[in-house]
Amino acid sequence: MAEALRAVVVGASLAGLRGAEALRREGHRGPITLVGDEPHRPYDRPPLSKRVLSGEARPEAIDLPGQAGLDLTWRLGAAAVGLDLPARAVALATGERLPFDRLLIATGTRARPWPNPAEAALSGVFTLRNRDDAAALRAALAAKPARVLIIGAGFIGCEAAAACRSIGLSVTLVDPTPTPLASVLGTRIGRVVAEMLRREGVDYRPETRVEALEGDAAGRVRAARLAGGGRLDAPVVVVALGALRNTEWLAGSGVAADAGGVACDGLCRVLDRAGRPVDGVAAAGDVARFPHPLFPDGPVAFEHWGHAVEQAQHAARTLVGPPEDHGAYAAMPAFWSSQFDLNIKSVGLTNGADAVAVTQGSLAERRFVAVYGRAGRTVAAVSFDSARWLPAYAARIAAGDAFPPILGATDQGRVAPMDPGFPQRPARG
């Protein structure tokens, strides 16, 4: 009987919460248990690298609004440590076993730690992924350190740099690639971000690698040693080297999961090692790797806010209804970032792009839409302070239009395709 089915959602962040809500909406009547390794109710992560760091929002004031009256059961502060498929149960670190009929895996990612564990453990060295991370870093920033060293000029590194500058701190941002955001936007557009960082007073050092972090006798970080010589005093270090997918707890379960994520099909059904969908088990959000009809190179995983919401809803429909009824998940990937007074927004995927062209506005004014092409097709569009136009580009990307897709825009100059300048492989600090 449908009434008696038990659902377990592993992961109590955005995808987990929205997935649990969608399970109810789709008609799941039995108990729903949400498992989270953090002790907190679901909260919103985007502010962590922005308003929480600058002190404009308190870390405990960013809870995600949840739907009331859904009768959810919470297991917070209790990490899932194993999945027993034959018994259809999730094992928790507390020793508890949660039997399920329907399982949604939404364990997301964690910050990639500094590679040297001893150095990573120095006090004053932070990563930025969770509420507690942000609260600890905020406390360190509020003490007005003489300098903040940020390692990694991806979105988190750049946003953290902006937050630090907004409260008047000296910031040094180092990254091994030639420009910020190089792996996502390419160095051509990355140069625009580099100029902005410098104009805003960030001591930005491209093509710079931190070799080691040095601590003092009390175990406090003191400085960073740079590859090729050179040393930076750094009482506070933010390690912003990207994310690792939380799949270790699935080891040995028979589910196809590795560092690249949990393998799913287009309906978000989790696959076993033979590539067959596991009945009643789905995944969504950062941790899910799945075939996307727009991207032919093989399965993808997106670490995007809107994707977590939409894919969780899709997965819930798969778990409750006849899965074939609603087709493959094909939402257009999209993300945004705010840095200083700049809004960056993107639709599509720049992976493998071989050309970029500015179709609206101009790089010089730092207000533009840049479109990415791959083998003559339009695959992505990125806007700087021009997000209102992106829906038109999203439609053209979805339709697989030729590159560049929009000619004749009101604020279009000469459209000249350029080399986007993606680094050969995504280098990491």
Binding site: T359, Q360, G361, E365, R367, V369, R388, W389, L390, P391, A392, A395, I406, L407, G408, A409, T410, D411, Q412
Partner: protein, 413 residues
């Protein structure tokens, strides 16, 4: 394909009282080609897509041309220069990015939430005063006695136009608003009138701006005339004149319709008038539903700068496009029972203020005025009844609203 003469029927004054059945027929095609080559965008989804399409240009007004005066000096030198200035410095409603964005930035710096909210008490007082004047009346014309004078006084005060000059704007505003009506815009005689009117109002504004520069006070014109934006710099004189005229006209012609259409709708659905009287807190929701159900602006025109594919239709480069916002507001694919006036609707994502980069600058002011006006009318008019239903309409198909709205009342409380 729907009948390609439907939009001509929309423009025909005979259909002014109820164009909605025509819109329903037009919606059979999301982008309906008309026999004059115009593409009418009719559904909520198509409007949403095209309002955010950078290939639709707002620079679709024909060039300004002064009619010959017989004075060779004027005809050869002065007027062509004026025409050129006028065509190059149109107000932002007729401009595209990046120029549009710069102008809008200037305007938004002055048209602030703080300034709008500061008008609250003043609007309430004006509303009360207009109603007090008609205390003993047994019949009023809502347009002449109330809906027109209120927004006119408000926008003039906010801009900084001296009250004694308000009356002159009435005629100017009504004439220049025809620039938004496709037929009037093409009509030679009307265009000549627009040119003459523009010359007059521009001369007036030029003097007023000079005065504001000499003696700046806390009003929008002083701010625009003396302000300096860190990004956009200082506003040029011609753009400043065009912007000032736009703000005046936009403040004149649209809020009038919102208030009048609002009262007309409430009198047609008296249970909601009754509810508003008992519960003024419902006003914001009711006004959003009004903006969906009877919006003050029914459509805006654009020009396609490139060919644009939309579902089964391709809008060719150069084609005139009509964004029929009022039709999207009644699209059954978007709204349940769209032809029902229902302030309790959960979801009212209307195009009552347009959308995207040309979204109405004055929306917060319009909401504030409409709320003050409708709440006061609901509370103070004693037993109001429509004398003419439907009322006589003004000629505009885009800026659509009653010319007069005669109400029988038993006095004003």
């Amino acid at each position: 394909m729907p009948d390609p003469t439907l939009f001509a029927a929309v423009k025909d004054p005979a259909h002014r009282p109820d164009p909605y059945p025509l819109y329903a027929r037009l919606r059979e095609s999301p982008v309906a080609l008309q026999d004059d080559g115009t593409y009418v965008v009719t559904t909520h989804a198509a409007l949403r897509a095209l309002v955010f399409d950078p290939r639709l240009s707002s620079e679709d007004l024909p060039d300004a041309t002064h009619p010959p005066t017989g004075n060779p000096f004027k005809d050869w030198i002065v007027n062509p220069i004026k025409d050129r200035i006028r065509s190059r410095h149109r107000p932002l409603i007729f401009r595209d990015p990046p120029d549009h964005d710069v102008l809008r930035r200037h305007v938004m710096r002055e048209f602030t939430a703080v300034r709008v909210n500061a008008m609250h008490a003043r609007v309430d007082a004006l509303v009360a005063d207009l109603l007090d004047r008609k205390r003993e009346a047994r019949q009023i014309d809502l347009v002449d006695d109330f809906s027109y004078p209120l927004p006119v006084t408000v926008i003039c005060e906010m801009l900084g136009v001296p009250p004694e000059d308000e009356a002159r704007f009435h005629g100017w505003a009504t004439q220049l608003a025809t620039a938004l009506e496709p037929d009037a815009r093409e009509d030679k005689e009307n265009r000549d009138k627009n040119i003459a009117t523009f010359d007059e109002i521009a001369a007036y504004m030029q003097d007023l701006i000079k005065e504001k520069r000499r003696h700046p006070v806390d009003d929008i014109l002083s701010g625009l005339a003396t302000g300096h934006d860190p990004q956009a710099g200082r506003m040029g004189d011609y753009d400043l004149i065009a912007t000032a005229i736009l703000l005046l006209i936009a403040g004149h012609e649209t809020t009038v319709n919102l208030i009048t259409n609002g009262m007309l709708t409430l009198l047609r659905f008296p249970e909601h008038l009754e509810r508003l009287r008992a519960d003024p807190e419902m006003a914001p929701r009711l006004i959003e539903e009004l903006l969906r159900y009877e919006p003050p602006v029914h459509f805006r025109t654009r020009k396609a700068l490139a060919s644009i594919r939309m579902d089964d239709t391709t809008i060719p480069e150069g084609a005139p496009v009509v964004l029929l916002f009022a039709s999207g507001n009644r699209d059954p694919a978007r709204f349940r029972e769209p032809d029902r006036f229902d302030p309790d609707r959960e979801d009212i994502q209307h195009f009552g203020f347009g959308g995207s980069l040309h979204f109405c600058v004055g929306a917060p002011l319009a909401r504030l005025e409409a709320e003050a006006a409708l709440v006061a009318l609901a509370r103070r008019l004693k037993n109001p009844r429509l004398i003419d239903n439907p009322p006589p309409y003004r000629p505009g198909a885009s800026l659509r609203g009653p010319q007069h709205l005669r109400l029988a009342i038993e006095g004003i409380a």
